[in-house]
Symmetry: D4
Subunit: 152 residues, 8 copies
């Protein structure tokens, strides 16, 4: 009876595994009306986008700064547009931007789903507390979305 | 002359009668441009969704907590998306989540229509006061929507 | 070059002349991508909608109160949805709800166009000051919309 | 036990009776922790403030417009600052700015108390519906404030 | 080193036990810089405040409606003003207004602490999930406040 | 995998060069899902729109004021609607309205891209600081948009 | 009778004349309850604050960028805190940051008073339109504040 | 001339060095009108606060979850209350909650100052980009505050 519309789901964080494509596959197989949104996941392109487009910088700090601005146009716009934000923390790397995105999303009132292995449970306790669900696998994220969006 | 667009109407509260399908029938028969939104109304699925997807809990409190998080992804997203929120209080059960949804909707500036039998009038006086209309039958809700959306 | 999209224009206030249909005609003739929104303009239906749907009231105050709630579902939803709000003050009647709608729209950051004869200029000075434009004829409103929406 | 703090109450509308001083008297006699806020009630000073300070205008419309801007600095600031807005509609005059203030306050989520004689009930039904209380006398307004602020 | 300022804590819900005075006692004994806010807890005064001040109603629904409006001036103002909202659900009564207040507070981004006996855990799971803490005794609430406000 | 949807990009500022059409060409050639929004760039039409539609003014200040109101209906609506705001400062002219639009956009949380020659760097340091990227050519703006919207 | 409280007034823009001290003198002489807020007006200190505190930059763009960030901490905080924002445009200089501050303030719903010589009228028409008053002298600004804040 | 008032500064992040007390010392020595706000920095008390007050949990995840809720009452309230948020990232530890706080603060429009050693520059580029200033030492933070708050 209900027609819950199309949902936009932003996939924030870790770029070093296939978790985004596994969610995309799962969403497609489940036939969910979901528009997946994502940051740029090409690491080198992401780091250098500022200087590639607007000119080189001698100082690495400003090299990074220019790139981070361009990436923020994308990420902040898509998080504001999203209905749900999934935040992935992988086994290694600091991934502070993933945590930043989570805080940004929560302050905007967006429901967050965290996705990480159990060994990060203690270090991520504040973010998991602010999230609506904590998953260990991309397939669990798909199941949460399936329920939230399409369960009768 | 006016074309008041499509309206999204969220149907909150009671899951133990056919009130949602009666509203759906009425809206369809009236040809209203309405997208009906709803929580999951399968009681068992709703209670257990957290542990079903993300693993069992020994403690019933956390069992419920996990499920409530997943349900909140759905309900808070749909209430934010709704133009109008209908809140149903049935004859029995505590239905505190229905009242919670009403408060949540009112604080967001959403017009609320309450739907309940007259014997609840006194107990629901604060919520009826915050609502724009109080109906006794689903058919009255349909008439309110018909007027609000489609009356010339 | 620019494609400024579809605009929603809410037509608030006076129901005793043909000003809404003149704006509708003008918008259509100009081929503007405008969705016109409006309150119910059938005076009797508007006054009695509450009791007609949800049961009679002995007290005229509550008779009016019930009807005003149902009308508010429509008017507040459409004002929130509108890009521009046109507020019409006719030659007579108090039309306090028109002024209320103007204040509501301004507080939400919506641009307001007032439409009234010059003899109301002094009495409407606060509302004209809060508006972006003050017109005397519906055709002037159409020209303002044409410029705002479709001028190259 | 509770200490509900100081409340700011903005008194909007009618300037042609002693209603504001009666509320001020009542509030003082009741010992309420209330800071009363008000627009300028000197009619001539209010009408001419723009040209008095910033130079004459040949055109009455702009004479009014300049003054309305200066008054809006005061009224909009004080309404935003208020906890409660009382809106007075007297026996005569159009008082569209009172209705505008009511709409502005409601859209900001401020509770409104309307104050008017019963003969305005029908014309003010939309605003009374949006208000939390409708009083006929300033003394009733004081009683409402006393209850809301200081009742144990 | 840190000076976390004065906190305003609104105590919503149940009026049939001494829980508010136990929190007040605990806060005072702990020397916390807390301003406690509360609804009117005199049941009869609360029910009848509308008609007591503004005149009798024949119809019980409108009798309640008038009173609920006056109470809402107080409760909505104080919830907006609060830093933290404690919501008490007692052993019996429907207490839908407590749940409504919780939803209202959560939508405004206020941290909520629920206070109820364990037998309500299942019925309150959605509200407990939206809360930051769930306590069983007023003394636990005091401890949570002491930590949040004054722990070094 | 990701489908980042259609983006609305508002092009604010300078009207004396072909920068808007160069961005439009670039966006079209890149096949970006972008809806470009713009103010009226016909200088004479923009200056005189108020008096052309609603009647002449003797005083140049009010002539300008009337026109600025009509233009603001367009510009404020489109900035609110935009995902990204590009602000162009050309070699000469004061262009205070471009800077005003930038401040307006930043306060609404919109990402801003500034576009100006390097000789303005010092005078525009506050606005460049508030922007996410600073470009010298329209082609660089297109590249930033291409990355933000369509990079895999 | 009314006690309109203390007002915070932010003085944005031009740093090359004594306009701020003339407003401060006028406010003091009038005995107004005003807290004046201002950016740093020491031009050299303002330009170099970033590098002075956090280390030199080879590139002038980043030198400016670092300083603009520190200044923005001050200006954005004070504009958000202000009840009224006065924006001064002097006879020369581009003063784009003044216009930016005006746009920022208007988007936040702050009433703006512009202060500039008449020869800027045309170039500032959009900002004057968004303002509540336009003054030519600091003494006129003081009179506007005196009326808005302290007129009976 | 200007009196910029008292500022509230929240000190987020790292608890394993004396950076907070160095800022407190610097602020006091500079005589700044600053109220410093902080999370609980007693690591054990912070981890166990949930179970200490509201009862033990068998499962470490829920042990952490309960504690994180209580801490969030404090941190979210204080970040909302702050004018400026300083976020410290120390040499080691994941400190995801520091990054979360930064994202939360930025989404609320709070100016952020990051404080970290240069070796974190690349990993923190997104957060440094969203910040208004990046410092290496607590003394630099004090200087930024001194300028922002108290420079003439």
């Amino acid at each position: 009876m209900a027609q819950n519309g199309t949902w936009r789901v932003y996939l924030a964080g870790g770029i070093h595994s296939d978790w985004r494509s596994r969610i995309a596959d799962g969403v497609r197989e489940a036939g969910l009306p979901v528009e997946l949104l994502a940051p740029v996941t090409d690491h080198g392109a992401s780091d250098d986008v500022g200087v590639n487009i607007m000119g080189a910088e001698d100082d690495k700090f400003w090299h990074d700064h220019k790139g981070a601005g361009v990436n923020a146009i994308r990420t902040q716009t898509l998080i504001r547009r999203a209905d749900v934000v999934v935040v992935r923390f992988a086994e290694k790397y600091k991934q502070w931007n993933a945590a930043f995105d989570a805080g940004f999303a929560v302050a905007l009132g967006k429901p967050v789903i965290t996705l990480h292995p159990p060994e990060h449970d203690h270090a991520l306790k504040e973010i998991d507390r602010a999230a609506m669900a904590t998953a260990e696998t991309p397939e669990q994220v798909v199941e949460v979305l399936r329920y939230a969006i399409a369960k009768d």
